[in-house]
Symmetry: none
Subunit: 225 residues, 2 copies
DNA sequence: GGTCGGCGTGAAGAACCCGTAGCGAAGCCG
DNA sequence: CGGCTTCGCTACGGGTTCTTCACGCCGACC
């Protein structure tokens, strides 16, 4: 469950926020002062902060800065102030968004979803293919065998990537040639022989007893992880 | 240099945007239709998109969805529509922020900074990178070898920073050239040769037995800490 | 058993790319 | 204005990769 910290000095608004957010499946903690907000952000480690700027004890930008000193949690600022200078100050202090009152609940929920979506999409796990001692990191374009990097040329790597991203499938000569060399090379299947050979050598595979690249005579090749 | 894609159907606004953004050091590309926007986002790979919703050809949320199908680039929506339903639709389609016209330039710039900051803080890389005797302090723009500072020119430093903040990854010629020289230099890979040479000399690396910058022939370079 | 096509293998020339030195131009300082 | 630094750009030698060829092997088919 997603934890949201709501900071507002008016109990009435805190209650309204809590009701709306909980109705949409969020777990809510509310506090009424800036000091409490900093403490709650630290010990609760919420996944999002909704911060009202009209706090009695601390200036809003100070709250943002102090939270930012230890956390990257998304902060959405709610405020009655519509002056441009206020928005710039809050955003540059580290806020992620600035919504001016009066606002609709739906808008705040949408901005909240946008902020949370950004956060989690920040780290899409890079596809690393693993086959025994062989690792192919497509994101870094890095290939290792038993932990030590293997140097592949441009063409060798393109061919390997075509294989590992289509593991198990039968890849015809035509298809591979087009994928690696481009259109107009569909007939040059001897290129494949040369580069499959090169890959097998560098990756420690042998044609007579293949563990990685299987020859399908007359048709193509198949990657058997 | 940070590349921003501005999408607006009114030439006057496009010009104004370009002027403001370029004055703040951004590299700007402008387009006038939704179709162009999707194409430009794909081939230009900008670091941020400013999208006006009143486009003649496509619905704004469609533009957002189509860009989102291949890219996570931050999208800030500008619109005359202040209705809550419009904001919710745009944000849920994948927009990162929604600003209602009329808006101030300073506010847009602040929201732009906030979006870019979020972007890069996704990977909390330590401010000081260490590789044996080499230290690169990205925050202070300071480089030392064995404790003594090394003087790097602007271009040399930009290149080094691109390397150390992407250690391990294979960086293509195109990517490096765009990052350091800006876009429009994607073909000038001889610049890279010259500046990689310069870096290697100042950092005590040699091309024949590289400990820092590895050449990947025909593709690019790789920082191997 | 012989022939033939497809595949694996090694090697060599061609094409391409990189490292390196250096020159003129532009910008920056006093 | 004059020296210095930095940048853009070119040229050339050397190294790597790509392409191409030749040969041996194996299975299929006649």
């Amino acid at each position: 469950m997603t934890r949201v910290l709501v900071v507002d000095d008016e109990p009435q608004i805190r209650r309204a926020m809590r009701t709306s957010l909980e109705a949409h499946g969020y777990e809510v903690r509310t506090v009424g002062t800036g000091e409490e907000a900093v403490v709650a952000a630290a010990e609760d480690d919420p996944e999002l902060v909704l911060l009202d700027l009209g706090l009695p004890d601390l200036d809003g930008t100070d709250v943002i800065r102090r939270v930012r000193s230890f956390s990257e949690v998304p902060i959405i600022v709610l405020s009655v102030r519509d002056r441009q200078a206020d928005k710039v100050a809050a955003l540059d202090a580290g806020a992620d968004d600035y919504v001016t009152k009066p606002f609709g609940v739906e808008e705040v929920l949408a901005r909240l979803r946008a902020a949370l979506r950004r956060r989690q999409s920040g780290e899409p796990s890079p596809p690393v293919h693993r086959f025994g001692e062989l690792e192919v990191d497509v994101g870094r374009r890095l290939v290792t065998v038993s932990g030590s990097p293997v140097h592949l040329t441009k063409t060798e790597y393109a061919l390997l990537e075509a294989f590992v991203t289509n593991a198990g499938k039968l890849l015809t000569h035509q298809w591979l040639l087009r994928k690696v060399w481009g259109h107009g090379y569909a007939e040059e299947s001897h290129y494949l022989r040369v580069y499959v050979r090169s890959l097998r050598r560098k990756l420690g595979d042998e044609a007579s007893a293949p563990r990685l690249i299987l020859t399908e005579p007359g048709v193509g090749y198949r990657w058997i992880g």
